[in-house]
Symmetry: C2
Subunit: 365 residues, 2 copies
């Protein structure tokens, strides 16, 4: 199969890394190391192209890739594009046929760049789609899981040369449990190729055009920075977002545990928010934000903590005391807000006994 | 390929379960549940046959099976012969061809019966060999690992339907680490098919004729029981063993942790040993025995704790206060006592800073 594709320029990837970091809602790992990989690959003459998910044949084989683990560990053990490609190759060998295209598990954070790194080595296009529309910490938190698609197999590779396959599981939660333990043993970071998807599955259950959305978002921020305009206003306008809070980081409690980065950040209000306080709990990604003890925004609405001046995202692993930040919310993909979607990614899926109310479409009581 | 084989009778399997439990040196799990499985399979009309390892063609494909995990858990989650067969089938599918024969990872304990259960479903012979000549707790503690054979791949199946493959590792220790984590997550017990071996590898590095050895040992015990003779004397005579201690169990400290059963047993001397005390440390299997604080026997010499009257083995998971026991030592396979062998299975491999001195061939200082 050969598909109509559009080349992705290095400038697109620079924008992608800015936009994806915002959509990462604190997680997904910094796209910066992926960007460095792509600069090096483009300098070697390799290029990557993007294709529309709706151009996929129903029986096309699509690899779904992600770097799995705790973002903080990714700061020390750097991403290597060959390891990502190896995870795809292990899966291709396991299923007995090559892939036609590769896509991102999550468009948020560094995982937006993972399929590009694989594609540069494998010579196949990147599908303009993902299955979260943001970033989430666990395997069952995807539109494919919400659609009850087959959770297995999964392949995993680390930088040392270990390789594992979760060959069959009885639920997405079991996929999460088994793959997470293996990932933790490999050092809490591993390159993974998730359950392969057909073109038909990607068209029915994928979250579409999120790569181009992240590129557009990054372009809006970079353009505002160039014009010395307010980048946060540019983000809100581009994505229909809402300002939630503004303040100074006064505390961060953070621990890397069982393959996740968990904790809570506290932000003291500034300007119009002076006297108020926001607390945000995270499991890799920002999950629930409370203003003065009252839930203000919860997953799956996208909670983004941004540098108040540059508009660039701050991750749960890089937030620190004294930073001036803006907290904004962006709308979540509709599939995440269905009753089945909320079972997978609503506040209760993260252990918070809070009813989900989107800040964009409040539910009347 | 078709090999000369000898049918194994159900009476042979009854003897195998007695002999293997002694060779298990406290671990490998009780063979009793495997025996019940074999009684049921034979009642259905299935039978199993044994073949000599030296009849294997050099390029024969041999599956190496074992039930992995903490013996105590195996007391609650019962062995199902179909799960063992499934582990072999996963591996056959993964390597793209069926197996010619199946063999035991360890002849000690329930794992002596595992290949018989697989064979009864798969219709292939059992090779009269294993790669420990006893039981050991970890993946790198085999003659195949001592021979530096390829440690991967490994397949794993649980009773619920989860399946995993450790596809590639850079060392036997990494195989142990990755497979152990997966096993623990599955509930600390799983059926595994270890790295497939060729006939040439089994002939060069297998520990040969251990199935028939365990059957013979069990026959000796059962015969002594029938004749009201001393079964322990019969064991010592059959295997060239040594009496080490006799007494009453006064304490057992036991914990199931990270997929192992660990702890220490204390035995107060009786008869000729009155006033003395033996302590035996275990990790699934008995590892080191001290008499009055002085090392008396250590791995890889086989330390066996036997019921003083019946001569039957007592496992680390079933030893309890008040039992009258005899502690004996049996000789280890020579490959385990080479310098490379001791690196894998000597006292230091279990964390004890003790020089190995076999009770059968004391090293002069």
């Amino acid at each position: 199969m050969s598909y109509p594709t559009t080349p992705i320029s290095l400038d697109d990837i620079e924008s992608l890394s800015v936009g994806a970091w915002i959509l990462g809602t604190g997680g997904g790992g910094s796209p910066y190391l992926g960007l460095l990989n792509m600069r090096a690959l483009y300098a070697e003459g390799r290029t990557v192209s993007l294709m529309d998910p709706f151009d996929l044949a129903d029986d096309a084989d699509v690899a779904v890739v992600s770097n799995m683990g705790a973002p903080l560990v990714g700061q020390e053990r750097l991403t290597d594009s060959r390891t990502v490609a190896r995870a795809v190759e292990i899966m291709a060998r396991y299923q007995g046929r090559p892939f036609h295209a590769v896509m991102s598990l999550e468009i948020g954070g560094g995982n937006a760049i993972q399929p590009l790194m694989a594609a540069a080595h494998l010579g196949i296009p990147v599908v303009d789609a993902d299955c979260m529309g943001r970033a989430f910490p666990e395997a069952q938190m995807t539109s494919f899981a919400i659609g009850d698609l087959q959770p297995w197999p999964l392949s995993m590779a680390d930088c040392r040369g270990q390789e594992a396959i979760v060959a069959r599981v009885t639920s997405w939660k079991w996929m999460e449990r088994l793959s997470r333990k293996a990932c933790v043993e490999l050092g809490s970071v591993a390159s993974t190729c998730k359950a392969p998807r057909t073109g038909a599955e990607v068209k029915r259950w994928g979250i579409h055009h999120t790569t181009t959305k992240a590129i557009r978002l990054g372009q809006a921020v970079r353009e505002a920075q160039r014009r010395h305009a307010d980048p946060i206003a540019a983000i809100l306008e581009a994505e229909g977002g809402l300002r939630i809070f503004a303040g100074k980081v006064s505390d961060v409690a953070r621990r890397t545990t069982e393959g996740f980065l968990r904790g809570t950040a506290t932000i003291e209000g500034l300007d119009g928010e002076r006297g108020s306080r926001m607390e945000i709990a995270f499991q890799n990604e920002w999950a629930v934000a409370w203003r003065d003890g009252v839930p203000a925004v919860t997953t799956p609405d996208l909670i983004c903590v941004l540098n108040a001046v540059t508009g660039e995202a701050i991750g749960t692993e890089t937030l620190r005391y004294g930073q001036r930040v803006a907290v904004i919310a962006l709308p979540a993909p509709p599939v995440l807000m269905t009753p089945k979607g909320l079972d997978h990614v609503g506040p209760r899926a993260f252990g918070y006994d809070i009813e989900f109310r989107s800040v964009f479409a409040p539910v009347s009581e």
